[in-house]
């Protein structure tokens, strides 16, 4: 995955022209600043147009950029005194989830996030950010600790999904995810979840049951990846671009659906263009959310979270004539 994507090509070309012109001016000592200015204006307009009207699929591709900031990139930019805490105390330590304690503007917090690699070698070590049960159990251990010591929890969601592997199934991947949903719902401290990259399925939700859900502009969150949806629904993984649109997975879609609370703007072109500036934008949103939630008592924090999830759903009632006759017509599809 190169740093520039195809839809960014015209920008790249124009940038090339500008640097050529600069070089030419330097070498020949000719003043072409009028031309240079007009090219730079064109570039600014082009960037604004390209990045201001990105399609869902383009956002998915930005979310997957290898140089996009990860949990461990944001932690030193947002927190001080970070002490990483390893292990689930049951089986092992999952490098696909990191967590620990830190201070946020001087106040104690617990920080947990999914962690992919920032290069191929690290990606292999961290299973591409796809957690095993021990990762979710480590996260839960740290959340219960936060509950005990009354500190807010901030989670960063960035995963292609829970790891699909034999060992993960043997150690209870389903139970680990389910347990986190169950226990997170009952925490009495504020939980703020920030989707910083990819948020796929139960693997994302397992650290995502919060009082407030925030999303970066170029992140996505859904029941399945666009490729997975295309393969399942249309038997054609090539239709991922269409699926990204149909499945309503971007921050603005989820804001409209009432699933997330805040959409955090990104620096022009995506968070990777300026991680520090991006961290400032996240910082601003976190301060706002924590201030809002600090108005609530421990009971109210729990009640607000329970009410938030209780209200999610889209259904209706009809009057139809159903009988109790026996239905036994399923094809037996296995064994």
């Amino acid at each position: 995955m190169g740093p520039e994507l195809d839809f960014e090509k015209p920008i790249l070309e124009l940038k090339g022209k500008i640097s050529e012109l600069k070089q030419f001016m330097d070498e020949k000592g000719i003043d072409l600043s009028d031309e240079l200015n007009s090219l730079q204006e064109r570039l600014a307009a082009l960037e604004k147009e390209t990045y201001g009207s990105m399609t869902p699929w383009e956002r998915v591709r930005v979310a997957r950029k290898l140089n996009r900031p990860t949990t461990l990139d944001y932690i030193p930019l947002l927190f001080t005194d970070f002490v990483e805490c390893h292990g689930d105390r049951l089986y092992g330590d999952d490098p696909a989830i990191v967590g620990g304690i830190a201070k946020f503007h001087g106040h104690p917090v617990t920080v947990i996030g999914e962690q992919r690699g920032r290069d191929t070698k690290e990606n292999i070590k961290r299973n591409f950010g796809s957690p095993h049960p021990e990762g979710y159990r480590k996260a839960l251990r740290l959340m219960k600790q936060a509950d005990k010591f009354h500190r807010p929890i901030i989670t960063f969601i960035d995963t292609k999904g829970a790891f699909p592997g034999k060992a993960a199934e043997e150690r209870g991947q389903s139970e680990a995810i389910a347990r986190n949903l169950y226990e997170m719902s009952w925490l009495s401290v504020p939980v703020i979840c920030v989707v910083i990259g990819e948020g796929a399925s139960g693997g994302a939700l397992a650290i995502g049951v919060g009082n407030q859900i925030l999303m970066l502009e170029n992140s996505w969150y859904s029941v399945i990846s666009p490729e997975g949806a295309a393969a399942l629904l249309w038997k054609d993984a090539g239709k991922a671009e269409e699926a990204a649109k149909t499945m309503k997975i971007t921050g603005s879609d989820l804001k409209k659906l009432g699933i997330i609370d805040k959409l955090i703007p990104e620096v022009l072109g995506g968070a990777h263009h300026d991680p520090k500036k991006q961290a400032d934008l996240i910082d601003h949103a976190l301060i706002e959310s924590l201030t809002e939630l600090s108005q609530l008592s421990a009971d109210q924090v729990r009640e607000q979270r329970l009410a938030k999830y209780r209200a999610i759903g889209n259904y209706d009632t009809v009057q139809e004539n159903l009988t109790n006759h026996s239905i036994f017509s399923y094809s037996s599809d296995r064994q």
Partner: protein, 289 residues
Amino acid sequence: MKDFFTKKKKYATVPSAKARQDVPEGIVRKCPKCKKIMYVKELKKNLFVCQSCGYHYPIGARDRAEMLFDQGSYVEFDKDMVSLNPLQFPNYMNKLESDRKKTNLNEAVWTGKGLIEGFDCAVAIMDKGFRMGSMGSVVGEKITRMIEYANKNGIPVLIFSASGGARMQEGVLSLMQMAKTSAALKEFSENGGLYISIMTHPTTGGVSASFASLGDYNFAEPGALIGFAGRRIIEQTIGEELPEDFQTAEFLLNHGQLDQVVSRSELRTVLGRVLSIHAEGGAAGWDQN
């Protein structure tokens, strides 16, 4: 042929090849495991379990309710709740309509309450015939309401899972039903509620990774497929072949994920025991002895 249909037998045996060709669909069934052919009527009497090899046929929610509860003791909840199309997903409504006709259910879960071995219980039964038993808004809502009913009335919850996971066509709304149902169970549990989970074939994906795994007691039917990730995806990821029994109820039992694998014929007995032990109310009573 006349003889063949009127002959009274305790259990069906294999009709001749000629007879098999002539038998109308739906009257006999060939066991997918041992290939033995049995009359549907006989199968039903045997709780849809193969008389010869013990294979548990997947069954619909209404049949399950009929065999689970004490006779005539149950009522259905939220019978008329239907899905909308929050993402305006192409063709979704048509698919729901055709599954409604197929299963005689408005959605992929039946909920209600009734007596099991004399004990009042709130129950959800999923039906894999309806959109592979997938969980969208209605499944999440019906299960949550059933749990809330149990919470209010102080009775146990039983959920029979049969699901391919979250429903794709409702996108993130389906995903959030995992959190909604799990949160309802947590609240119920904090109030001392008893929840028994019974995983049937198949219990996978988002259902496996939410309420199905959260029972105070987790039981499963023999041979049921239970797991989070699909077998094919795992094989592609790890590049090795998986054991034959991978993600079966028996495999999960061996890996510490289940309390018991319980056959359909023993289920009511086992449930009756658990319910009666809980009805005693823990240590209460010892001080009076």
